[in-house]
C-alpha cells in the first residue's frame, strides 16, 4: 500500500514544490526594488508619451527628423491613457505596491516595533563610528537604570537583556513612524481606485453647449436637463475676461428643481450631477423654412467651430435632414488685425455668411451662399434662412465623479503617511554595559545609522545631552575604528531609516 502511495505523494510534493516555486518567484518579482523602479519609470515614460502627444512635439519630430513620420502618425493615433498597456502597467504597479511596498515589509517592521532584537555584538560596537564609551562607579545595573531614565526623557523606548555578566541595551525612538509607509502606499492604490470608480460609475459630458434660452438633456439616466437663462460676461480694459457666469435652471423630468449661477470655480450640483462652467462663445438664432414654408429648424446655433479659411471667424454647422442638406454659418472676423488677408468673406458686424449645402450636389459644384443681415432672410436652393438675432452660448461640463471622496481620502493618507515616515525618522541605539575589571561599570553604545549622516549627528547630539547626567560619564569613542558605520556585522530586521 505504501509503495503504491509513494509515487503519488512524491508527485504531489513535486507539484507543490513547483507551485511554491512559482509563488515564490512571483512574490520576489513584486518585492524587487529594481522591478519597482522599472515599473515607476515605465509608467512615467508612458505618461510622458501620452502628454507629449497632445503637444506640438510629435509634429516637430516628424517634420525635422527624417524617417519618423510613420512613428509620429502612430504616436498621434495612440490614446495612451486609455490603452490596454497603460491599464495593465497601472495594475502591475498597484500589485507591486501592495506586495512589495506593504505585505513584504510587514513582518520585519512589526518585529522592530513589537519585539526588537536586543542582543548585539562587541564586534559591531567596536566597528562603529560614532560610538560612545560609558563609565561609572556604580554597578552595571545602576548604569543601565540611569541610561534608561536618561533615554526615556528623550522619548526613547529602552529594552535590556542580560547575557552573562553583560547587559545588552536596545533603544529606539519613532518606531511607529515607519508605519507611515502603509498609508502612503495604500493611498496610491486608493487614488487609482478612485479613478477606476469614476471611470466605471461616473460620467462626464465635456461639450455641454447650451445657447441662451436653450435647454439640453444631461442623459446618463439622470432625467435631468439644463436650461441656460442668460449668460453674463465682463471684461478688463485689456480685453481679458474678468468674469463670466451662466444663470441656469436644472430640471428633473421637465420640472425645475434647482436654479443658480455657475462660474468657473463655483459649479452647481443636483443629486449626482454637477454642472461646471467651462467656456462660452457666440451663437446665432435662426429660423429655417423649406420651399413649402414649413419651419424645419428654429434654434440658436452655437458657433463653436472656426472657418476653414479664417481661424478668427466663428462658424456653426447643422444638418437639415428634412431637405437632405446642411446649413453652414460663418460670423464676422473676431480679430480683424490678425492676418487680415484671410478675411475674404468680408462679413461685417451684424451680418452672417450663410450657405446651404445639398447632399445631392454634384462634386465640384459650389453650394449657394449669401451674406445676410440680422433680422433679414435669404433663400438658397429652395431653403429660406432667417437670421433672427445674435446670442451667446455657454460651454459647460456636466459630470458625476463618485471617485472624488475616495481620491481626497487617498490624498490625505498619502501626505500623512509621508509626513510620518520623513518627519518621525526611526532612531535606534544599541549598547553593552558590563562590569569593569576595577569595579564599577563600563560599556559602549552606538547608533544603528549605517550611512545615515543625520542619524549619526542625532546620536552625537544625544551624547552631548547625556554628558550632563551625573550617574555616569559618557565620552565619544576614540580609537582605531572601522569605517564609519559601514560593513557592520549587524543584521537588523528592518532598514535604518524607515522608508517611503
Amino acid at each position: 500500500m505504501d509503495e503504491q502511495l509513494a509515487p503519488a505523494a512524491k508527485r504531489a510534493a513535486r507539484e507543490r514544490n513547483a507551485f511554491d516555486m512559482v509563488v515564490d518567484r512571483v512574490w520576489r518579482f513584486f518585492c524587487s526594488t529594481r522591478v519597482a523602479v522599472a515599473e515607476i519609470a515605465w509608467v512615467a515614460l508612458l505618461v510622458l508619451i501620452g502628454t507629449l502627444r497632445q503637444s506640438s512635439v510629435p509634429h516637430w519630430i516628424g517634420d525635422n527628423i527624417p524617417g519618423t513620420k510613420g512613428i509620429v502618425i502612430r504616436w498621434l493615433d495612440w490614446d495612451v491613457f486609455h490603452s490596454f498597456i497603460f491599464m495593465i502597467s497601472l495594475a502591475v504597479l498597484s500589485v507591486g505596491i501592495f506586495i512589495g511596498g506593504m505585505l513584504n515589509r510587514m513582518p520585519g517592521m512589526w518585529q522592530t516595533i513589537r519585539n526588537p532584537t536586543i542582543r548585539t555584538t562587541r564586534g559591531f560596537l567596536n566597528g562603529v563610528t560614532p560610538a560612545a564609551t560609558v563609565a561609572a562607579g556604580t554597578t552595571p545595573d545602576g548604569v543601565i537604570e540611569a541610561i534608561t531614565a536618561a533615554l526615556k526623557k528623550k522619548r526613547y523606548r529602552v529594552f535590556t537583556e542580560k547575557v552573562g555578566d553583560a547587559t545588552h541595551l536596545y533603544a529606539d525612538k519613532n518606531s511607529l513612524g515607519q508605519l507611515g509607509t502603509y498609508p502612503f502606499h495604500l493611498a496610491m492604490i486608493i487614488i487609482l481606485a478612485g479613478g477606476i470608480v469614476t471611470a466605471q460609475w461616473g460620467f462626464r459630458e465635456l461639450q455641454f453647449i447650451v445657447p441662451e434660452g436653450g435647454r439640453l438633456d444631461v442623459g446618463h439616466g439622470t432625467g435631468l436637463s439644463v436650461e441656460l437663462v442668460q449668460f453674463v460676461d465682463t471684461y478688463a480694459q485689456t480685453g481679458v475676461p474678468e468674469d463670466y457666469r451662466s444663470d441656469i435652471v436644472i430640471l428633473k423630468d421637465g420640472e425645475p428643481v434647482k436654479s443658480g449661477s455657475i462660474t468657473v470655480n463655483h459649479p452647481l450640483s443636483y443629486e449626482n450631477a454637477t454642472v461646471y462652467q467651462s467656456s462660452f462663445g457666440q451663437a446665432v438664432q435662426v429660423r429655417v423654412t423649406d420651399a413649402n414654408g414649413n419651419v424645419i429648424l428654429e434654434d440658436a446655433l452655437p458657433m463653436m467651430y472656426q472657418s476653414l479659411l479664417n481661424p478668427d471667424a466663428p462658424a456653426a454647422r447643422i444638418d437639415l435632414l428634412p431637405v437632405n442638406a446642411s446649413l453652414v454659418i460663418i460670423g464676422p472676423d473676431s480679430n480683424p488685425f490678425n492676418q487680415p488677408e484671410l478675411d475674404t468673406l468680408n462679413v461685417r458686424s451684424g451680418e452672417m455668411w450663410v450657405q446651404v449645402r445639398s447632399n445631392d450636389l454634384p462634386a465640384g459644384t459650389m453650394p449657394p451662399a449669401a451674406i445676410v443681415a440680422q433680422g433679414h432672410a435669404v433663400t438658397l436652393d429652395g431653403v429660406t434662412v432667417e437670421f433672427i438675432r445674435e446670442k451667446r452660448f455657454s460651454l459647460m461640463q456636466v459630470a458625476y465623479n463618485p471617485g472624488i471622496p475616495i481620491f481626497i481620502f487617498g490624498g490625505i493618507m498619502l501626505v500623512a503617511g509621508l509626513a510620518a515616515v520623513f518627519y518621525f525618522p526611526l532612531r535606534r541605539i544599541r549598547g553593552i554595559i558590563e562590569p569593569a575589571p576595577d569595579g564599577g561599570a563600563t560599556g559602549l553604545i552606538a547608533p544603528l545609522a549605517k550611512r545615515d549622516w543625520s542619524g549619526q549627528q542625532d546620536f552625537e547630539h544625544l551624547m552631548e545631552q547625556l554628558k550632563a547626567e551625573p550617574a555616569f560619564t559618557i565620552e565619544p569613542k576614540i580609537g582605531k575604528d572601522a569605517e564609519a558605520n559601514s560593513a557592520t556585522p549587524e543584521t537588523d530586521v528592518s532598514n535604518d531609516e524607515g522608508t517611503a
Binding site: I40, V240, H266, L414, L418, R451, S454, E497
Partner: protein, 300 residues
C-alpha cells in the same frame, strides 16, 4: 495700489542686486583661492629660470559671511516684494509667471538659508544663489505688462486653493533646488575630494533631507491641484501637460527615495537621480511655454 506694485518691483530690484553679489561671494567662498607662487632661480651657468606653482586654498571665510548676509538681505527684500505684491493685488502672488517667479525666488532663498544654518555649510550657496539669480534674470526678461496688477482670470478665482496649491509648489521646487546643489557638489567631491568642501556624507544627507521636504510638498501640490481642478474644470485629473509633468517629477523623486532607502543607493547614482529630478522640475516650471494646456494662463 500702483504704489505698492512699484514698491514690490523696487524691492525685487534691490534683492536681485543682493543676489548677484551673494552669488559671487559664495562662488569665491566655495571655489577657494588660487595661489600662484613664482620663483626666479639662478642656474650654475648664470641663467635665470622662472618657476611657477599654483595651489588651491580654502575660500575666504569673510566672503562666506558676506554671502550669507547678502542672501539674508535678499530674502528680506524678496519677502517685502512678495508682501507688497499681495497688498497690491489682495491675493496670493501667483497669477502669472512674473508673480510666481517672484515668490519662487523668495522660497529658494528661505529654503537655502534654512539648510545653510542647519548644516553650517555655505558652499551650497555657490550653486543655489546662481539658480536664484538666474530666476531673477528670467523675471527681468518678462514683459513689463506682467508687472502691472491685474484682476485674476476666472479660472484662478479661488484665492484659498490658488494660494495653498502654488505656495506648496514654490517651496517644493525650492527644496529641490537645494537638493540639486547638494548633488552637484557631491559629484564634484566624488571626483576631486576637496578638503574645503563639505564631506560627501553631509552632501548626500542634505540632498536626501531636501527631498524629504520637497516630495511631500509636491504630493500636496498634486492633490490640492486635483481637488481644485475638480471644482474648476469638472475633473480632478485631465492629463494636462503641466500636471502630468509634475507627476513625472514626483515619480522621479519617488525613484530616488526608493533606491536610496530600499536598495541602499548612496553617492553618485543618487546624486545623478537628483540632477534628473531637478531637470524635471525646470521642465515642469516652464512646461506651459512648450505645451500650453489648462495651465497656459500661468505663462506670459
Amino acid at each position: 495700489m500702483e504704489g505698492l506694485v512699484k514698491l514690490s518691483f523696487y524691492c525685487f530690484t534691490a534683492a536681485s542686486v543682493a543676489m548677484f553679489a551673494a552669488s559671487l561671494a559664495y562662488i569665491f567662498h566655495a571655489v577657494g583661492r588660487v595661489r600662484v607662487e613664482r620663483q626666479v632661480l639662478a642656474t650654475s651657468t648664470g641663467e635665470t629660470v622662472t618657476s611657477t606653482h599654483a595651489s588651491f586654498d580654502r575660500g575666504s571665510e569673510s566672503a562666506g559671511r558676506w554671502a550669507t548676509m547678502l542672501t539674508a538681505f535678499a530674502a528680506v527684500l524678496s519677502f517685502f516684494s512678495v508682501v507688497a505684491r499681495i497688498g497690491a493685488t489682495k491675493r496670493g502672488p501667483y497669477s502669472n509667471m512674473y508673480e510666481f517667479s517672484l515668490a519662487f525666488v523668495f522660497a529658494i532663498l528661505v529654503m537655502y538659508l534654512i539648510f545653510e544654518r542647519k548644516y553650517a555649510t555655505r558652499q551650497l550657496g555657490a550653486i543655489v544663489l546662481p539658480i536664484a539669480s538666474g530666476m531673477a534674470i528670467y523675471i527681468w526678461s518678462l514683459p513689463n505688462s506682467l508687472r502691472e496688477s491685474t484682476e485674476l482670470i476666472p479660472a484662478l478665482q479661488n484665492n484659498l486653493m490658488m494660494t495653498a496649491h502654488v505656495s506648496a509648489a514654490i517651496f517644493a521646487y525650492a527644496t529641490f533646488a537645494v537638493s540639486f546643489a547638494a548633488a552637484v557638489l557631491y559629484l564634484v567631491q566624488d571626483r576631486k575630494n576637496l578638503s574645503w568642501l563639505p564631506k560627501k556624507e553631509m552632501l548626500d544627507d542634505i540632498g536626501y533631507r531636501a527631498v524629504t521636504i520637497g516630495f511631500p510638498l509636491l504630493a500636496l501640490v498634486l492633490i490640492l491641484g486635483s481637488v481644485w481642478a475638480h471644482d474648476a474644470w469638472g475633473s480632478y485629473w485631465s492629463w494636462d501637460p503641466k500636471e502630468t509633468a509634475a507627476l513625472v517629477t514626483w515619480l522621479i523623486y519617488g525613484i530616488y527615495l526608493h533606491t536610496r532607502t530600499l536598495r541602499g543607493w548612496r553617492g553618485s547614482p543618487s546624486a545623478i537621480v537628483l540632477l534628473i529630478g531637478f531637470a524635471a522640475v525646470i521642465f515642469t516650471y516652464y512646461g506651459n511655454y512648450f505645451f500650453g494646456g489648462l495651465h497656459a494662463y500661468g505663462g506670459v
